[in-house]
Symmetry: C2
């Protein structure tokens, strides 16, 4: 049986305490390195593979320090502190450069926790939008290989077809799932939080260099809710709040088809013009 | 001349490369430790005091791993990677426990950058609200010492006076500044991002144990805009997006009196009931 490309890309080998090795995956290639969501998923996977893991992910922050190159990498995940019901992780991903020195490509932190059932409520309700079956499969420019790993059906805010410099909104809403479909888990949810093209493309209808600098994902779903989501679509929504001196932010929400808010996410993105 | 209490609390002494020492400050005391915003500001200050600093803060993430005790602490800020225009920092704050061992109280990361002027725009405009002079000074329960360090004038969503279990919204809007007033800088802006009481208090009108687990601040302002903000009020807005199995999130915005969105922030908070 062939592994799903996401599971292939995610594979880690335990190398020494707190350290795993893996390799960047061509099927998830972006412009100059792997899709950032895949790298975020890899960072989280190191935490989830760690023998000392307590509970399930609550928060993940990854900072993209340098472009991950094709080839092997090391990812370390160290439990800096373990409490009764929460655990704090320090993460880094590095590669050996041409001179044989380790270069840090990602820094990060995560919090995992043993969740307990409490009053629960979506304050941010899923917007009323047409279902995925009612919408065409998005025809993105598929020159970026990782885009072929996702099925996207846009409600609004697809990437501009004309770069006329006259955008008006930074809001995108799309139904999205792995392609081929794959049962949702924490790693794929982390990757999906980074599935949006840069907001500046949409807001201004200009194509400029842009890249995520830091992303945070908060997991509201427990593993049971992820199982219930299966390989269905998620409604993914993103918009910017501020563009300022070379950086803009993005706030994002991911609901499953039943309307449960599984994750919220934020990122800050470098842009040039 | 007496230092402002915020500057006193912020004081760090360089101890060894990448390591500073400080002490938790009673004037910013919360229930069982210092106000989390003060601790976040301290973490950022270690980065800003570092001799290798490049540029200004873009992103800060702090994870509250354990309750900071009264007394001395060590904070380390290490540049994990320095690029041409961005720099990636790994931060931790620790204290020596009764057994003489180091305990990690905070993990974190930051990104600093040499900003360049680009197209800039607030996509999230400041809401139309009465100005600070038109609103009464909030009468919070001042049993928590740190609350006396801020002047708060609520537009809406002040802490409930009756815990009747019937809240309807998680939205708060308030004008806030240091008390006594102090010119805004990156550290005080980071602290102000944590100025909101737990959203669950408001949303449900119940008083339950709650504490921030992780907070991220994105800085949209450069130092010039902070200088322009002076010691004026900021309009601080926060609301939750999801409450789920012991944790809720909070998304927040901070505008200055001129309507510039200086920072956006997010946190995930533990709660019990």
């Amino acid at each position: 049986m062939n592994l799903h490309p996401f599971d292939q890309a995610l594979q880690l080998t335990s190398a020494e305490p707190h350290v795993f090795t893996g390799a960047s995956a061509r099927p998830y290639w972006n412009m100059v390195g792997p899709f950032g969501g895949m790298t975020a998923a890899t960072a989280l996977n190191a935490v989830l593979q760690h023998p000392a893991l307590l509970g399930e992910p609550i928060a993940l922050t990854v900072n993209y320090a340098g472009p991950v190159a094709a080839g092997p990498f090391k990812v370390s995940a160290t439990p800096a502190r373990t409490n009764r019901s929460t655990q704090h992780w320090v993460i880094s991903l590095s590669q050996t450069n041409a001179e044989g020195a380790d270069e840090v490509m990602l820094t990060g932190t995560a919090v995992t926790a043993a969740r307990r059932s409490t009053w629960s409520h979506n304050d941010e309700a899923m917007p009323q939008v047409p279902g995925p079956a009612e919408l065409p499969v998005g025809k993105s420019v598929r020159v970026l290989e990782w885009l072929n790993r996702y099925e996207m059906r846009f409600v609004q805010g697809n990437i501009p077809v004309e770069w006329h410099g006259g955008g008006e909104t930074s809001l995108s809403q799309l139904w999205v799932r792995d392609n081929p479909p794959r049962p949702l888990d924490f790693c794929s949810l982390a990757a999906l939080a980074d599935v949006f093209f840069p907001r500046v493309y949409l807001r201004r209808a200009v194509l400029v260099p842009a890249g995520t600098v830091s992303m945070t994902v908060y997991f509201h779903a427990n593993s049971e809710q992820l199982t219930q989501s299966g390989s269905g679509f998620l409604l993914a929504q993103a918009r910017a709040q501020a563009f300022s001196d070379g950086f803009f932010d993005q706030t994002a929400q991911l609901w499953n088809e039943s309307g449960a808010l599984l994750a919220t996410s934020h990122q800050i993105v470098y842009f040039k013009e």
